[in-house]
Symmetry: C2
């Protein structure tokens, strides 16, 4: 079922107003959720609206909180998110990083005590839309076993990079697990197998059976030991730079998914050392080389990160955003 | 065969002096190569000495070149490496990033026209030794197919993060391929299979047979599409920030492995927003949680990145560094 973007956004906005957000907050958050669905990231778009409203009602997200500047040092700033709305805290911090990069070439903001930022790529797209390269990551509660362990002991800690480009930004939005739990669920409900092994079954064997992985919670880090190591280092770095909670403490405190987590936002002026024309030409040339790489399948197309997102966005903006009927009905009820 | 660290270093130093490096250059480069072998990264330690000397003799590395400051902007600097010694260019740039971080909290140096930095982790260790968090990456020539392509179309672009810690630094050194070509070769020569699939055979099937992958050059990106996307974005970011060559151009110019590549070095003052004691306590707590994660195998040990390196280093410093006899004989000859 498809719903026009504006209808989707306005409905989500009403749900957020009913949850206690003010006009400005509801508008900004609804835009982010609707945009995520429109970009094909359904898991953190419409599908996450009800849970966010639930978190607000439980007091796990405080709409009255605002990010507080704790320290500033040169090109870096430090904020406490006070368990406010994760999306707005993250937007604020990426905007501050961009402001610092305008002044210093590069800027960094470390944020602690924030809540779920929903789709991490939103802030990389935001930086790119503003003409800056953005790099950001978050820690989260433990949902994935560290390599060599059989119990969840690290978060999937998304890592995102956005690079502005005139013909479509290059945006990577990469969680450290090979698949999300959402992907496992969707695949299981469709009665399908994963295209590649996504975790371990109860006997400790790698498997492509989503249900078997959901049982063990032994999802596979992307690249085995590599994704495990990167997830752990990103966790430590975020907690260190923000003087906040490491992932194990976020887990123990148990204030909802990502409640009390830390995030780092870095912005770079992409044109500080060469002209915009030169950068655009370099990127266009590199993209051309990507598109001309021999495809595995005849007629196949090799893409850069963000390319398919842009296509999905254009399609859904024109033809309406795909929604799950049950989820849509639930959000419509919250909007009543 | 084991060789004492000092003997290893002095022998490599003599080889470098014979290749035309001056005393100071030979000492610094020999230390890095010997340290890499001592840390267990044999591929970029002793095993890389002969090739480096060959590159100098071919003119692909210019020992007379020094990094030249092209631009400075706030917390960021831009250098041309002029095809000088990659190890020394990289050390210089990480040191400059640290100096900038001392002043601005965070500092970034973008370097273009440099040569192979050998082991990327060297510069993350270097930052951590100096008490800073270091983050760096490089682009390289295409050696790995982009996801969806069957021909090498992106570099394996190592990405490194170092975090200082009193009981042993946390250091991630991650190339974007699941395995290096060196690992494929070593595994094939030992008549073994890879522990997990490392690429595609000539029929396009995933395989753990190293020889079959060497034939196709279709090594697998870590995490399939994820490592592929990250490698490409790191390539573009390095070329953009340094106004240098993207990986496809490095490939076309064909000036030896990594000849003319770009690198980015970022340093963070880890204690800018909290005390060193607080940071150390957070890290110690997080490490304890890693060590107490239930292991897959009874009696197993879950490690953080850098932990096993530190153990290997301590062992080889005490008992001599493992060397391949053939490689050692070759380097001894270069040192004559």
């Amino acid at each position: 079922m498809r719903v026009p973007f504006e209808t989707l956004k306005e409905t989500i906005k009403k749900a957020f107003l009913n949850a206690g957000l003010n006009e400005e907050q509801a508008e900004a958050c609804a835009t982010v959720h609707a945009q995520s669905s429109c970009d094909g990231v359904f898991s953190h778009g419409l599908n996450r609206v009800a849970r966010f409203c639930d978190y607000v009602s439980k007091g796990w997200v405080d709409p009255a909180a605002r990010p507080e500047l704790l320290h500033a040092r040169g090109a870096a700033e430090h904020y406490d998110g006070h368990m406010g709305i994760g999306v707005l805290n993250a937007q604020f911090c990426m905007d501050r990083a961009i402001a610092l990069a305008k002044e210093h070439g590069i800027g960094m903001v470390a944020l602690r005590n924030t809540t779920h930022w929903m789709r991490g790529g939103s802030y990389a797209w935001r930086a790119a839309d503003a003409g800056f390269m953005g790099l950001c990551w978050t820690n989260t509660e433990s949902c994935m076993p560290l390599w060599g362990s059989k119990e969840p002991s690290v978060g999937n800690n998304p890592f995102c990079i956005g690079i502005p480009h005139k013909d479509g930004h290059i945006v990577l939005d990469m969680a450290m697990s090979q698949y999300s739990y959402g992907k496992l669920q969707v695949t299981r409900l469709a009665g399908k197998q994963l295209p590649y092994p996504g975790g371990f079954d109860k006997d400790g064997n790698l498997t492509s059976d989503p249900g078997a992985i959901e049982q063990t919670m032994r999802i596979l880090p992307a690249g085995y030991w590599k994704g495990s190591g990167l997830a752990l280092v990103l966790d430590m770095a975020a907690a260190m730079l923000s003087a906040g909670k490491s992932g194990d403490v976020v887990t123990d405190d148990n204030l909802g998914s990502c409640g009390g987590c830390c995030q780092v936002f870095i912005a770079f002026d992409p044109y500080m050392f060469s002209s915009k024309d030169e950068v655009e030409a370099m990127l266009a040339h590199r993209i051309e080389s990507v598109h001309s790489a021999a495809p595995v399948r005849e007629g196949g197309h090799v893409s850069y990160p963000g390319e398919r997102t842009a296509k999905t966005r254009a399609d859904q903006q024109a033809n309406g955003v795909e929604v799950d009927e049950g989820v849509w009905a639930e959000v419509c009820k919250l909007a009543e």
